[in-house]
Amino acid sequence: MSTTESQHTWPGDTLTRVPYWVYQDEANYRAELRRIFEGPVWSYVCLESDVERPGEFRTTFVGEMPVIVVRAEDGSICAFENRCAHRGALIALDDRGKARSFQCIYHAWTYDLRGNLTGIAFEKGSHGRGGMPASFCKEEHGPRKLRTTTLHGLVFASLSPQAPPIAEYLGQEILGRIERVLHRPVRVLGRFVQVLPNNWKLYFENVKDTYHASLLHAFFGTFRITRLTQGGGVIVSPDGGHHASYTIDRADDRVSTAYREQGIRSEHQNYRLADPSLLDCVDEYGDGIKLQILTVFPNFVLQQIENCLAVRQILPKGPESMELHWTYFGFTDDTPEMHRRRLKQLNLVGPAGYVSMEDGCVGGFVQRGAATAADELSVVNMGGESAESQDTRATEASVRGFWKAYRRYMGV
């Protein structure tokens, strides 16, 4: 038994039981922001193409810390806390823009593109009176700076000098699975934010949970985009934190009766599409993988569902609230046919997605269902007790992997 800063305890060393207080406790949440999001992890912050040219910037968050990501004059990508060194006001107020420098609107303190404090209004006072003390050193004051790293067009940031190089952080298998999808320059097709009434971990677990996909999402099961009876598997990184799950279309599933025999809701024999062009999919990667969902601990999702591609950024907003930032994309060299296909398939995902709208509410169902069960435990036993890769998706191995990584970062 070990404790966090909260009043609660963990149920021993198992990865198969998760106490509900971990989704509710305020002190534990504050500890997560410090130990995980400000700790030795890499958080996804934006696409590299979002900050293509020097001076282009984005504002986002690492955990709850407001952050500016900006392309510096020399072409490198810098990230620093969006907090004025003077009184703590936001430095940049827009979601995006282009700047030569940043100036806090409160007292006009100025920062360069690297987040260095370069100017203080009335530093020498007025008419020889007032001003900052001569001993004040601008170099010693500034917002916290983050390290950045890029990977196939993605930008990750870390506040910790201890975060290992991104390739090492992810491991070879996950790296290969990112390369598989992001092998060409991307073209953004849309951006939306979904505000979810649940703890951030419930969403991250949901994405890793291959067990629910064809059960909750009837659309998935009905149209055999993913089924537990199809081929596929779950890859879990050695540290447990990252995962990739995939489905391979396997013809023999067409005659499987497993869903029907178990009376599973998602078996709809008579459900057909009036316009089946939505499912006019092509194997653009040439490997037969219809679906690949990938996560990078603690806040990133890369999704390929047929030809529908998106990245999702998870932003915690308190113990029982989070935001999911969707970026839909294709590639700059998509043919008109592929572009149109992707626009249609966007119906599959996002806040109104045929196969993802349920994920927006199911976390809230858990949050509400377990409201008074802080010390009760959820059961994560599908596929055994380990957090290792498996060649089935009827497993919760990657969810257990999440808890393995979580407990190490949290020290519990």
Partner: protein, 162 residues
């Protein structure tokens, strides 16, 4: 000026009626009637002001045929899971922007309150309908209805069409 064009002046109340009927169909849970407000060749997309400004073509819902609209309704009835909810649309007066070759362009502001099964009521969406309207089989129909939400943020999920 659009308001002085006699054709547009005469069409304005008809477009307002079309919008009123459209909103009632959704708010009364007659979703099966919803595709009937569209022409056979149609485009329906839900986007946001910011996405539009950025030139992003993707939508939260995207249908380029009447069949895709019917599929959306079928999915809501048969496949998708969401808590019982309904909308109350308040649709403003349409501004008729012009007419070319029988296609009338209109812009209409809307506001949607979402009522959840437990009685919670929230301002769920505000925005503009950007429409291309044609006459088909003796009635006005949407050839194109682009729903431009003022905000890109959606609370929990977007189940029903706007």
């Amino acid at each position: 000026m659009a308001e002085t064009d006699p054709l547009l002046v005469s069409l304005q109340p008809l477009v307002a009626q079309l919008n009123a009927d459209y909103a009632r169909a959704i708010d009364d849970d007659r979703l099966e009637d919803w595709p009937e407000f569209f022409a056979e060749q149609c485009l329906y997309s839900i986007t946001s002001t910011d996405n539009q400004r950025q030139g992003y073509p993707g939508g939260l819902m995207y249908a380029d045929s009447k069949g895709m609209l019917q599929d959306r309704v079928a999915a809501l009835r048969e496949a998708n899971i969401y808590e019982r909810q309904s909308y109350r649309h308040l649709v403003g007066l349409p501004a008729l922007l012009g007419e070319t070759d029988g296609v009338v362009r209109a812009e209409t502001p809307f506001l949607v309150v979402r009522i959840m099964r437990d009685g919670r009521m929230d301002l769920f969406a505000t925005g503009r309908y950007l429409d291309a309207i044609v006459e088909e089989a003796g009635a006005l129909r949407f050839r194109e209805r682009i729903v431009v939400c003022d905000s890109s943020r959606i609370d929990t999920l977007l189940a029903l069409p706007l």
